[in-house]
Symmetry: C2
Subunit: 307 residues, 2 copies
Amino acid sequence: MSTFSSLDALTENFRSRRPIRAGSLIITVYGDAIAHRGGTVWLGSLINLLAPLGLNQRLIRTSIFRLTKENWLIADQVGRRSYYSLTGSGRRRFEKAFKRVYSDTNPEWNGHWMMVLLSQLTPSERKDLRQELEWQGFGSLAPTVMLHPQTDRAELQSTLQEQGVQDRVIVMDSLTEDTTASRAMRLQTRECWNLEKLSENYQHFLDQFRPLWNELKNSQEMTPEQSFMARTLLSHEFRRVLLRDPLLPEELLPADWEGRAARQLCSNLYKRLWRSAEEHLDMMLETAEGPLPKPNASFYKRYGGLT
Amino acid sequence: MSTFSSLDALTENFRSRRPIRAGSLIITVYGDAIAHRGGTVWLGSLINLLAPLGLNQRLIRTSIFRLTKENWLIADQVGRRSYYSLTGSGRRRFEKAFKRVYSDTNPEWNGHWMMVLLSQLTPSERKDLRQELEWQGFGSLAPTVMLHPQTDRAELQSTLQEQGVQDRVIVMDSLTEDTTASRAMRLQTRECWNLEKLSENYQHFLDQFRPLWNELKNSQEMTPEQSFMARTLLSHEFRRVLLRDPLLPEELLPADWEGRAARQLCSNLYKRLWRSAEEHLDMMLETAEGPLPKPNASFYKRYGGLT
């Protein structure tokens, strides 16, 4: 077995983080390794799978229990063993959350902005809604004006209703009128979304995973377990950076945008690692009926197509 | 000859203003009384016409000279007499400026907003552009965001070009998405345009001219000269209030909007006064060819139709 110092460094880095955030890693593993293979596992096999990443039994049980309470998972007792399956809504939530991770391009843009005016809210309502919209990827054009280049009106509407402000928030559908000010629009975008910070996050991701690519280029193949660990940490770190990425259309991003390079590296590494990692899952994970089913069709569409 | 104390009060009020702003009144008289009757007058007859309003010869000559310098008027000397005619561009500018005075409704609205983002400008450029856009009726949504419910893109573009900022100003065409927040939009409108101040101006106009309407209802007819003076002061004061009115669509205005009542009063008074006032113009004004031609067709369309 070859050793990969880059993988050791990634693993050590993850294991030494305090708090270790087991819940977040388990979400990654369910989304990246279990959802596309039936969605059900024996807890004991999951514990064994995650041990090399530094997650002990207690942490895993606590996290799984929380996901069950929040209706992502449902438990099934067979004999003395506990099996955990994705619920219907859990499956939909995973699909939605991971769709952006495995896409190979930024979404296409029709030039429309969704613009939200907060000036008729009280200061505390405004603060709450701003925070929520920032999480959803909205940028800030002015203290009372937020905007987003995608237009999922239904999601916004449900946010406004949850916060009880739907009749005091003005929503506009805005179209940038011409292309003469496109440079101004790119500068504006950089300010509205604080792209500097995001760009640093992507740079950090690149610094972490480029050494892995370099080693894989020149070395023997990884073992299935190494591949699983590398792929899991890759998906985990990429997902974490993406959480803060509003996924702006290409037209609005700088020419040398680090997010593009990061996605490219992630896609290349994933294509290199996936097959061997799936072998590890075949060996490690089990259901009440034996090994997991083969990956479903949508798995093979990750990053524009796994071959 | 009956006396009308309301007209005396209006005249006295105008005459006692310091500075008297002869240039502004002469613009009113050209737009209201001369443009639709050929556009040419002998200066001497204009001086006689305006004497009862307290404009002396020197003030009138200075104002006419300035309008000539600014290419609104062109002078023609016939013997010892000076005749002043509207230039082509002067005629167009008068038509544009007075169109809103004589309209009987606010413009129709298709729900679109023109939104202008100033955040990529330097503070001094921003200040200049804000001022200019406010003059054009734009409201202020935030320090760097201005908007207008009408969309004369060409006029905006020429403003941006004049100020040399067209490649750093972002223009959006925005559509309010739903009607559930329409109350919020009306409140927003009130803030963006400072409608309180404008409403006070209209209230002042109503206070000034309602007594005239009450007297006209109950008294004998005015003489042609009285009618001319009343109509001139009416158009002048209404035009001055309108200069500050962004002419927002009905949907966005309060139900009890004073601007509506003011336009109604102005329209009713004008319809009562116009015929007799035109008789005064027949008598007083002359061209090198004798009396003025009859009013043109567009004159009879004022306020939805003069009968």
